[in-house]
């Protein structure tokens, strides 16, 4: 049966950024497809910690194993410890989802070097740290899937978005570079290009959200669940030959001028 090739039964996933709407939807979708799922925050904030624990509860409610861990994704020791805990508690690591999202938008002249550095550290360097930590078990077992979540802002510019756009574009091409580096090792690296979705951190105010809805070909934002399905495909045996690809789920936003 064709469906079986999409099953993640027996696989272990780690979702960093399960504290945001896209990461949370992906973690739940992977659990629904059969994976055990560890989830982590992007930063150590109270809000993110609560969200990550609530996501872990959803994983448990599906009768999958997993845990929630508060980390600072830009901290090497946090990320290394997270991967170690995943392998020791869930016995392996097959799927790494980098859904890091530290939203930030300001006119460039108002962006301090500290803010710039923090946005790059969390959104881009954090993905590098996670890939490096997860690659050790993945390369030694000669199989693994890395799924990076990038936003439209990795492909297009946005007023006030310079720092965030730069970080996202970095993740986009990091994906292609690692895909090539690990192409013969059994580790596949792909990205989901996420369109504007309900609950995203960068939506701005209600007025801006309405502008967006009017602009988008579907006349609505995406539900995070509509973006998460691609992660199941990318994580599964159905995508054995897929690597280095950015799969956009943006309701046609990139097709229009």
């Amino acid at each position: 049966m064709a469906q079986e090739v999409f099953s993640l039964e027996g696989k272990v996933a780690l979702v960093i950024g399960a504290s945001n709407v896209i990461g949370r939807a992906i973690a739940v979708a992977l659990a629904e497809a059969g994976a055990n799922v560890a989830v982590a925050t992007t930063i150590r904030s109270r809000r993110e910690e609560v969200a990550a624990h609530s996501c872990a509860n959803e994983v448990w409610a599906l009768n999958r194993r997993g845990f929630a861990q508060a980390i600072d994704a830009a901290s090497e020791s946090d990320v290394e410890a997270l991967v170690r805990r995943t392998v020791s508690e869930l016995s392996r690591l097959d799927i790494l989802v980098n859904a890091h999202d530290l939203p930030f938008a300001k006119p460039l002249l108002e962006v301090s070097p500290t803010e710039w550095q923090r946005v790059i550290d969390v959104n881009l360097t954090g993905v590098y740290l996670a890939c490096r930590a997860a690659a050790r078990p993945m390369l030694s077992q000669e199989s693994g899937r890395v799924i990076n979540v990038v936003s439209l802002l990795g492909e297009r510019g946005m007023v006030n978005g310079a720092a965030y756009c730069a970080a996202q574009a970095g993740v986009l091409n990091l994906t292609r570079a690692l895909a090539l580096e690990w192409a013969r090792s059994g580790v596949k690296v792909n990205a989901i290009g996420a369109g504007w979705a309900e609950g995203m951190g960068l939506l701005g105010q209600e007025e801006e959200r309405q502008q967006l809805e009017h602009f988008l070909p579907y006349r609505r934002l995406a539900q995070p669940e509509e973006i998460a399905g691609a992660a199941v495909y990318m994580a599964s045996d159905a995508a054995d030959y897929l690597t280095g690809q950015i799969v956009w789920i943006e309701g046609g936003a990139l097709s229009r001028p």
């Binding site: 930063i43 809000r47 980390i71 946005v119 946005m158 701005g204 943006e250 990139l254 229009r256 001028p257």
Partner: protein, 275 residues
């Protein structure tokens, strides 16, 4: 050679199709100002004769050749006339096209004839011109092909099917040319204009005066000329197979409406770090 000297096109012969008006006219005049001699082609004789007069008034030679680019014999005759007049073709600007064919027509109403007319005008015409001119460029040891595509070749517009297909086809046709003749010193590149209403008030009005363009205005034809000269010049001797989009910033965004500019400060506890 100084960089600015490389923009000089003296001794070069440029063929510009669709040179009777609009962007074609602006590009022809810009090439002439850079000291190229010209062949101007279009269907309407009176318009290209007017273009030729303007070019000659600026001190360059100009041969107007009435041409139907959808007819390969007509194109061959135009290229033959160019060679008879000048003995060479250094620059070919495939600008002729018609976005109006099939625009705003629902798919089920796009007839076979409409589809073919649009493909003939917007894609096949450039193919005929390249096929006729490139042997001369090879013989001369080099040349420049500048194909004019459209934003419609890069992005979709609802109910605009034939133009989208033709202009996207032109882009990859040009990339194939670029690779094929890369070692023969023929550079093949594309221009993708954004909104250029050719100074017509009604057209400008229909485009909202360009207020949806990031720069807040539409393009004027004169702004296209220098890009054409640049792509025709020695400044681009290593540029090949590229699309240059001249659109006031439209395609740099495009995922959100123009003016979308949220302000989202870092969360109060986001700077603390976790180490």
């Amino acid at each position: 050679m100084l960089a600015l000297d490389k923009l000089k096109l003296d001794g070069k012969v440029a063929v510009v199709t669709g040179a009777g008006r609009g962007l074609g006219l602006a590009m022809a005049l810009a090439l002439a100002e850079a000291d190229a001699d010209l062949v101007v082609a279009a269907r309407t004789r009176s318009q290209i004769e007017e273009t030729a007069e303007t070019v000659r008034a600026r001190g360059r030679r100009c041969l107007p050749v009435p041409t139907d680019i959808t007819d390969s014999r007509s194109v061959q005759a135009m290229v033959d006339a160019a060679i008879a007049e000048y003995g060479r073709i250094d620059i070919l600007v495939n600008n002729a096209g018609a976005g109006s064919i099939g625009r705003g027509i629902p798919l089920e109403e796009v007839t076979d004839d409409l589809w073919r007319r649009s493909i003939d005008t917007n894609l096949s015409g450039a193919f005929y011109c390249c096929r006729a001119a490139i042997p001369h460029m090879l013989r001369q040891g080099g040349g420049k092909i500048i194909n004019v595509t459209s934003i419609s070749g890069l992005r979709g517009v609802p109910n605009s099917f034939t133009y989208a297909a033709a202009k996207a086809g032109l882009i990859n046709f040009t990339r194939a040319l670029a690779l094929t003749y890369a070692r023969h010193n023929i550079q093949c590149n594309l221009i993708a204009p954004g909104l250029f209403p050719h100074g017509e008030p009604a057209a400008i009005e229909a485009l909202g005066g360009g207020r949806y363009v990031p720069m807040g205005r539409v393009g004027s034809d004169e702004e296209m000329g220098p890009l054409c000269v640049f792509l025709a010049s020695e400044l681009t001797s290593y540029m090949n197979g590229q699309v240059i989009v001249l659109d006031g910033g439209g395609l740099a965004g495009g995922h959100a409406p123009t003016g979308f500019a949220p302000v989202v400060p870092l969360a109060a506890d986001a700077l603390e770090g976790g180490a």
